[in-house]
């Protein structure tokens, strides 16, 4: 027990003392640029999100992908908004009447929330294992 907790403390503090090692994950704020014309890669996991007057419909609410799979999220909304993939810190502005495409490689294991910022509504869980 003590060893486990010692580890908790050490690992947490270790980060603070480390040299600022650039995290292998994407930098803090990446704007997935809207590029409606590029077609998804054949291996990409596609998730579509439609928002009509605040009502969200998602193709899946639990998206499971293997590690290092490309995830492609296509969002259409009738209102301006922002989509945020937690952990990966992928953020992208959603413009009304336009398909916003967010694409990234799922290279961090864990369960991450994907949400829009209006009302902090959760769109789906991205489960990378």
């Amino acid at each position: 027990m003590l060893v486990v907790i010692g580890l908790m403390v050490l690992t947490a503090c270790g980060r603070g003392a480390d040299a600022p090692s650039p995290s292998p994950s994407p930098p803090a704020r990446v704007d997935g640029s809207p590029s409606p014309r590029s077609s998804p890669k054949p291996t990409a996991k596609l998730v579509t999100v439609k928002i009509v007057s605040g009502k969200v419909s998602v193709s899946e609410t639990r998206v499971e992908v293997p590690l290092n799979e490309t995830v492609r999220i296509e969002v259409t909304s009738d209102r301006p908004d922002e989509i945020h993939v937690h952990g990966y810190e992928v953020r992208s502005e959603i413009k009304p009447e336009e398909t916003t495409v967010v694409e990234f490689v799922a290279d961090l294991p864990g369960v991450f929330e994907v949400e829009i910022h209006t009302g902090h509504e959760k769109l789906f869980d991205l489960r990378v294992s």
Partner: protein, 435 residues
């Protein structure tokens, strides 16, 4: 944990089934081993045990300078939290206060207390404020005793208020909400300090009581003769004062941890999906209440059965210490990854507390390193903590039973409590599989 946006945006994958089964089997086997018993007479001496630390060290630890330094640190940290919560941006992705409060304070208080013993009592700004208020404001000649009949209910109520905020309320991550909660919490306790002085915190301040409970598992403690000692954590547990009222705290802590686990499961997630806010809050409240009630009922039933087997009464308080390691196991299982990952955000956001481009620690532009601990290491820690907590709990309970009961009852008296512990452990592991 349902802390949206900025806090806890990452959660753990389910643990592998083989690991769950191995853990559960190990817990069960060790339980029977302990029951069948290596020892028939109590081994733990509680507050009589321990090797004294050098007197010079004790003098330093007990000195006025140390005492006031710790109090000052506590007050400064509280002031910083309130100030940054109020003046910083009201967004937990920029403002460090929610991360400091939920991750550094609420989760961090566990390893701090287990590593250093009951140190939080010395830092606790609520205690300091209660002392000040009594000294400088109260007209009473002497602080009154907190009525014995209140038990630990005030502390339990404070903890429940916090847990409602953390686990049920859907805007719990907002810095203004966190600051408001802390402000009201401190104020409510300060009012009680007016009558009861510092003593109020012994049974009134939920956070201090929680920290003290965790500190029973520390290698540092105080012997009955007042010496600061290093001791076996199992002696530390046995040293806990027999107190039936303390059950109120343990059932809240274990019950809420179980509810926390429940909210992460697929079943709960699909239950709340798409519900209106009022229903969501109602389900959360009911779920939390039901979880606490479940733990409370099972523990009390087990103790009553045990009382029926023997001629002893008032056993609930005599075995309550054996639930502490189980509570710690649950806590580590649920918060380990949050502490390791979101804990980093405390440095990152804290470097620029007001979101104005400052960089106090040079860490402002770091990103959380999610590769610090692997998924399998997390799963191992989760199962390991629950199983180890179970084992320590069973050992503590066995030792207390052989101490209390004469021979024909030594084993028999343990059946019901052991069964309950196995249930808690099985539930804990099942919740980790079901996420």
């Amino acid at each position: 944990m349902i802390l949206a946006h900025g806090i806890g945006g990452r959660s753990d994958l389910p643990i592998p089934l083989w690991m769950a089964l191995t853990g559960a089997t190990a817990a069960l086997l060790i339980s029977f081993l302990v029951l069948g018993a290596w020892w028939r007479n109590s081994r733990f001496k509680g507050s009589e045990a321990g090797r004294p630390l050098p007197r010079s060290l004790q003098r330093a630890a007990d000195s006025k300078v140390t005492l006031w330094t710790l109090k000052l640190i506590g007050l400064l940290l509280l002031a910083a939290m309130l100030g940054i919560a109020a003046a910083g941006p009201n967004d937990s992705a920029i403002n460090p206060v929610p991360t400091w409060f939920y991750v550094w304070f609420w989760v961090g208080i566990v390893p701090i207390s287990i590593l250093f013993g009951p140190i939080y009592k010395k830092i606790n700004p609520v205690r300091t404020i209660c002392g000040f208020i009594y000294r400088f404001v109260s007209a009473d000649e002497e602080p009154r005793e907190v009525p014995a009949g209140w038990g630990y209910k005030p502390a339990a109520a404070g903890l429940i208020a916090f847990l409602m905020l953390e686990l049920v309320f859907d805007r719990s991550d907002l810095p203004l909400v966190v600051g408001g909660f802390i402000g009201i919490y401190v104020l409510a306790n300060a009012v009680m300090g007016l009558r009861f002085g510092e003593r109020w915190c012994d049974r009134g301040d939920g956070f201090e009581v929680y920290a003290r409970m965790m500190a029973q598992l520390s290698i540092f403690g105080r012997r009955s003769d007042g010496r600061l000692v290093i001791r076996n954590p199992l002696d530390g547990l046995a040293a806990m004062k027999t107190d039936t009222a303390f059950v109120q705290i343990l059932v809240v802590v274990i019950g809420s941890a179980a509810f926390d686990g429940l909210t992460r499961t697929e079943i709960w997630q699909s239950l709340i999906a798409g519900r209106p806010r009022s229903i969501y809050l109602l389900l959360g409240t009911l779920g939390l209440a039901a979880s606490i009630l479940f733990i409370s009922t099972t523990y009390r039933t087990a103790v009553e059965l045990s009382e029926r087997f023997t001629d002893k009464r008032e056993l609930a308080g005599r075995f309550v210490h054996s639930l502490i390691p189980i509570a710690v196991g649950y806590t580590i299982a649920h918060y380990f990854s949050l502490f390791v990952f979101q804990g980093q955000a405390g440095f990152i956001l804290g470097s620029d507390p007001f979101g104005r481009g400052a960089d106090l620690f040079g860490t402002a532009d770091w990103a959380i390193n999610y590769r610090l601990v692997s998924v399998s290491a997390i799963a191992l820690v989760q199962v390991g903590a629950i199983v180890l907590g179970h084992v320590l709990g069973v050992i503590s309970a066995h030792d207390r039973a052989v101490e209390l009961f004469p021979e024909p009852y030594k084993t028999r008296s343990q059946y019901s409590l052991l069964a309950v512990m196995v249930v808690y452990t099985a539930v804990g592991i099942a919740l980790l599989v079901g996420t």
